[in-house]
Amino acid sequence: MKKITLLALITLVLFSCKEADTTAPKIVVATPQQNAAVKAGEELCIQVTFTDDVALNSYKINIHPNFNGHAHNKIGQTSPGNTIDFETTITSESRNDKLSGKECFRDIDIDISDNATTGKYHLLIYCTDLAGNEAYIAQDFSIE
C-alpha cells in the first residue's frame, strides 16, 4: 500500500508541473512576395503579420546579398562601377518598437541605397515570443 501511495504521489507531482509556452510564433509576409524585384534607390515595402498563442516579444529583419547561390563568398565586396553590396539589419530594439499581444502587423519601408549592387538578395525575418520561442522565414528578392 505504501508503494502505491508513493508512486501515486510521484505521478501527481510530475503531472502537476507547470508547463511553459513552447509554441513558436508565426510570421506571415504580405509583401514583398517571393522573388519580388525592387529598384536601387527605392524602398522595399515589408508588410508582415506576427502572431503568437500567448504573447509576442520582438522581431529582427535582415537583408543581405545572395549573389552566388548562397555561397556568400562575395558579400561586402565593392563591386565594379562603385556599387555596394547592400546589407542591413533592423530590430524591435533598434526601432524602439517591441511587439506585444497575440497579433501585430508591421509596415516597414527599407531604403535601398542608390549605389546598391544589383542582383539576388535574401530577406530574413525573425520573431520571438515572451517565452523565448522563435520563428523565422527566408525569402528571395532582387535589386534591379
Binding site: I10, E19, N73, A131
Partner: protein
C-alpha cells in the same frame, strides 16, 4: 495530451497488476530450467537496471546501425542522421551524457554534436551490456545517463579455425554491406580479424516536396539529395591465455563518409537541390571521420585476487567539408584545402587499473584507478569547438556482498578530478565586419572571441548503493540509488558563435560546474514457464543540468536569431520500461513455438527553470509482436509499433505526431559448418505511413522517415575443429 497522461498510468497499472498476479501465481509454478550465459549471471547480481543483448539479437537486425539496433530495446533510442549514421540515447539522455565502451575502453569521438554519428562497426558485436541510469561509479563522468558496453568475445576452449561472412542490403537507401571475419584458437593463442564495408545511396523519402521557411523544396524521385555515404572498418584482436594470466590486444579503424542534404545547411538554395543524375555520389557538404583505436587488457589472477590493467589510445579525426563560404569580405579562401570548413582531431589516452579481492564466495571488493587524457586540435576556415586539453582521474571502491542466499548488497564510492585547459580563439574577420557595420568596439570584441582562455578544475564524488532480493527462482527485485556527475564539455564552457548544424548563436558559459544528479531505480523480474516480465521504473533529479537557454537577445552575427546561452538548472527525469513475454505454445502440432512480446517505455523530462521538457525527449513507445516458429529454424514475427506523439518539447523544438507502424520479420536459421547460419528478411513500415522520428537530425527541416522498405541479411559462420 490524453495519451501523455495515459501512458505512465498504464505503465504503473501494469506494474501493480503484475505484482498482484505474482501474489497469487508465483507459488504454484513449475520449476523452470534457467540457462544463462556468464555475462547474464554477472549482470543478474548487479542491482542497477541493466540488460544483456546477445549476439543473436544483433544478427537478426543486421543492416541497421548500432543505435538503430539498440532502439528495439525499451529505454533506448536512436538519434539518426539520415539512415546510415546514428548515435544512441538512453532514457532521453544522449551525446556526452552516456558512454559507449568498446574493446574495454570508453569510445571518445565528437559525440557532443547533433550531426555526428557513432564510429563503431555494427558487424563487430559479440553482445552488449546496457546499464540504464547513472554509471559514473564504474565508468566515471559522461556515464551519467547510462552505458552501452560491447562485450568481449567468448574464447573457445578447444583449438579451431572459425570465421563469418555477413551480407545485407536495405531498400531505403540501397545500402549494401558486407563483412568478413576469420580467426583461430591455437593452444594459448586466440586471434580474429574482421573487415567490413558498407555503401549507401541517397535516402528514399515518402514525399516529393519539403516546405521549409516559405520555400517549397522539390525532392526529385523521392531521393534526398547528397545523403549517400560509406563506411570501411577493420578490426584485429589477439588474446593470450595461460592459466591465471590473460592478455588481450585489439586495434580497429573505422572510416565513415556521409553527405549532408544541402537544404539542411542554412537557407535552402533550390539550384543546389536539383537532382545531379546519380544517387550514389557524395558531394559537398559532407563529413568524414576516421577513428583509430588500440587497447590492451592484462589480467593476472593471484590466489583470491585479480589484477586488471587496461590501456587504450584513440585518435578521432572528423572533417566537415563545405564549399568555402564566408560573410566577411576580408576573409580570403584558404589556399590549401579550401573546402575544409571544420576539422577536429581528438587524441585520447586512457588507463584503468582494477584490483579485485575475492574475500569469500559471498564478499568481493574492487579498488581501482582510472585516468584519461584528451588533446583536441582544430582546423578549417570556420570555428565551432575550441582547442583544448582535458585530464581526468578517478579513484574508486566497489563492494559486492551476498548477505544471504536471497539478499545481495552492492555499492561503492568514487572520486574524480577533472582539469580543463581551453585555448582562446579570436576572429579578426568578424571584428572587422562588425566594426564596419558601426558596432561599438567593446561589443565587436566580445563577439569576436569565439572562445576564451579557460583553465578549470572540477572534483566530483559519485557513488551508489543497491540491493538485489531474489525471492525465489522466478522473482527478483532490485533497488539502486546512485549519485552521478558529468563534466561540462569544451563547447558548453567556452564556445561563442554560430553552430553550423543548428544554425544558431550558441554561447558557452565558463562558470558552469559539473552536472550532478541522483537516481533511484527499481527492477522487478518475474520468470515462469509461461510468462516473463520485467518492469524497471526510475526517477532522477539533477541539480546542475546543463541546457541551452534562449536569451531573447538578438545576435549581431550574420544569419542568426537570438543568442542561446548554456545555463544550469534543476531537472527531473522519470519513467519506466516494461517487457512482457508470454509463451503461448511450445512444441505444439501447429508450430514449434509461439510467443507474444510486449515492450514499452516512457520517460518524462522536466527542466525546472525553463518549465519545459528537456531537448530530445523520446516519445512513449509500445511494441507488440508475435514470434511464431513455424518449423525448426523458421520464424515469422509480425510487429505492431505504437509511437506516441511528443508534445512535450523544449523551447524551439518541434512537436512530433504519433504513428502506428506494422513491421514483419522472417528469419531462417540453419546449420552450416557446425555453426548457426541465419537468413533474415525485415519488411518495415508495411502500411507506408509518413511519419517523423522525433530524435532525427533531419526532423527540424521536415524530412520524414523512409516509406515501406525491406532489408535482407545473410550471416554464414563456420567453425572447423583443429588439433
Amino acid at each position: 495530451m490524453k495519451q501523455l497522461f495515459l501512458t505512465p498510468i498504464i505503465t504503473i497499472s501494469c506494474f501493480f497488476s503484475a505484482f498482484s498476479q505474482v501474489d497469487t501465481a508465483m507459488f504454484r509454478l513449475d520449476e523452470v530450467e534457467v540457462v544463462a550465459t556468464k555475462a547474464q549471471q554477472q549482470h543478474n547480481a548487479k542491482a542497477q537496471s541493466s540488460c544483456i543483448l546477445e549476439k543473436d539479437y544483433f544478427t537478426a537486425q543486421r543492416g541497421n546501425t548500432l543505435a538503430q539496433m539498440l532502439n528495439q530495446t525499451p529505454g533506448l533510442q536512436s538519434m539518426d542522421i539520415g539512415s546510415g549514421t546514428s548515435k544512441p540515447a538512453i532514457r532521453g539522455m544522449g551525446f556526452n551524457r552516456i558512454s559507449v565502451v568498446s574493446q574495454g575502453i570508453k569510445q571518445e569521438g565528437q559525440q557532443w554534436g547533433a550531426d555526428h554519428g557513432l564510429e563503431i562497426d555494427a558487424f563487430d558485436i559479440d553482445g552488449i551490456r546496457i546499464i540504464k541510469g547513472p554509471a559514473s561509479l564504474l565508468y566515471g563522468g559522461d556515464a551519467m545517463g547510462g552505458v552501452i558496453e560491447m562485450l568481449q568475445p567468448t574464447i573457445p576452449t578447444t583449438n579451431q579455425v572459425f570465421g563469418e561472412m555477413a551480407l545485407f542490403t536495405k531498400s531505403a537507401n540501397w545500402n549494401i554491406g558486407a563483412s568478413f571475419m576469420i580467426g583461430q584458437k591455437i593452444n594459448h593463442l586466440w586471434w580474429r580479424l574482421r573487415y567490413s564495408e558498407n555503401h549507401y545511396a541517397d535516402l528514399s523519402v515518402p514525399i516529393d516536396t519539403i516546405n521549409y521557411l516559405t520555400y517549397k523544396i522539390p525532392i526529385d524521385n523521392h531521393r534526398l539529395k547528397n545523403t549517400a555515404g560509406m563506411e570501411r572498418d577493420i578490426n584485429a584482436q589477439l588474446s593470450y591465455i595461460n592459466g591465471s594470466y590473460k592478455s588481450d590486444y585489439s586495434v580497429s579503424y573505422v572510416f565513415q563518409k556521409s553527405g549532408f542534404f544541402p537544404g539542411s545547411h542554412g537557407v535552402p538554395d533550390l539550384t543546389r537541390l536539383q537532382h545531379d543524375g546519380t544517387i550514389w555520389n557524395i558531394e559537398l557538404p559532407y563529413s568524414q571521420v576516421g577513428h583509430l583505436k588500440g587497447s590492451t587488457k592484462q589480467r593476472f589472477i593471484i590466489d583470491n585476487q585479480t589484477l586488471n590493467l587496461t590501456l587504450g589510445y584513440q585518435r578521432n579525426h572528423r572533417s566537415e567539408m563545405a564549399a568555402f563560404h564566408t560573410h566577411y569580405s576580408n576573409q580570403p579562401a584558404p589556399t590549401h584545402d579550401a573546402d575544409r570548413e571544420l576539422d577536429f582531431l581528438l587524441h585520447t589516452t586512457s588507463g584503468t587499473f582494477e584490483w579485485h579481492i575475492h574475500h569469500s564466495d559471498t564478499l568481493k571488493q574492487t579498488i581501482g584507478i582510472d585516468a584519461q587524457w584528451q588533446h583536441n586540435t582544430i582546423g578549417g576556415y570556420s570555428f565551432l569547438l575550441p582547442q583544448y586539453d582535458r585530464t581526468t582521474a578517478g579513484l574508486f571502491w566497489l563492494v559486492d556482498w551476498d548477505v544471504t542466499s536471497k539478499v545481495c548488497l552492492s555499492g561503492g564510492l568514487r572520486y574524480d578530478h577533472g582539469f580543463f585547459d581551453i585555448q582562446s580563439h579570436y576572429d579578426n574577420y568578424l571584428f572587422e565586419y562588425l566594426t564596419s557595420k558601426g558596432i561599438d568596439l567593446p561589443t565587436a570584441e566580445s563577439y569576436s572571441w569565439s572562445s576564451v582562455d579557460l583553465r578549470r578544475n572540477m572534483g566530483n564524488i559519485s557513488g551508489s548503493v543497491g540491493l538485489v532480493y531474489t525471492h525465489d527462482k522466478s522473482n527478483t527485485i532490485k533497488v539502486n540509488i546512485g549519485r552521478c556527475f558529468r563534466l561540462p564539455t569544451a563547447n558548453e564552457l567556452a564556445s561563442n558563435g554560430i553552430h553550423h548544424g543548428a544554425f544558431r548563436h550558441e554561447q558557452g558559459n565558463p562558470q558552469l560546474g559539473s552536472e550532478k544528479g541522483w537516481q533511484i531505480d527499481f527492477s522487478y523480474q518475474m520468470s515462469t514457464k509461461w510468462v516473463e516480465l520485467l518492469v524497471t521504473p526510475f526517477g532522477s533529479y539533477y541539480t546542475n543540468y546543463i541546457y541551452l537557454s534562449p536569451s531573447g537577445e538578438w545576435s549581431l552575427l550574420p544569419h542568426s536569431s537570438q543568442i542561446y546561452r548554456y545555463e544550469q538548472t534543476k531537472a527531473v527525469f522519470a519513467g519506466s520500461e516494461l517487457q512482457i513475454m508470454v509463451h503461448i505454445l511450445r512444441n505444439n502440432t501447429a508450430c514449434r513455438r509461439l510467443d507474444y512480446n510486449l515492450s514499452a517505455d516512457y520517460v518524462f523530462t522536466y527542466n525546472i527553470n525553463a518549465l519545459t521538457a528537456t531537448p530530445f525527449s523520446p516519445p512513449a513507445t509500445i511494441r507488440q509482436s508475435i514470434e511464431w516458429e513455424i518449423i525448426d529454424g523458421l520464424t515469422l514475427t509480425p510487429e505492431l509499433e505504437l509511437i506516441a506523439p511528443q508534445n512535450r518539447v523544449a523551447h524551439n523544438e518541434l512537436r512530433t505526431k504519433g504513428v502506428t507502424l506494422l513491421n514483419l520479420t522472417a528469419s531462417y536459421s540453419f546449420s552450416c559448418f557446425d555453426s548457426k547460419a541465419t537468413l533474415n528478411f525485415n519488411y518495415k513500415n508495411i502500411t507506408n505511413r509518413v511519419y517523423f522520428n522525433h530524435l532525427s537530425y533531419y526532423r527540424t527541416i521536415g524530412i520524414p522517415e523512409p516509406a515501406s522498405n525491406f532489408q535482407i541479411s545473410l550471416t554464414l559462420p563456420f567453425n572447423i575443429k583443429t588439433k
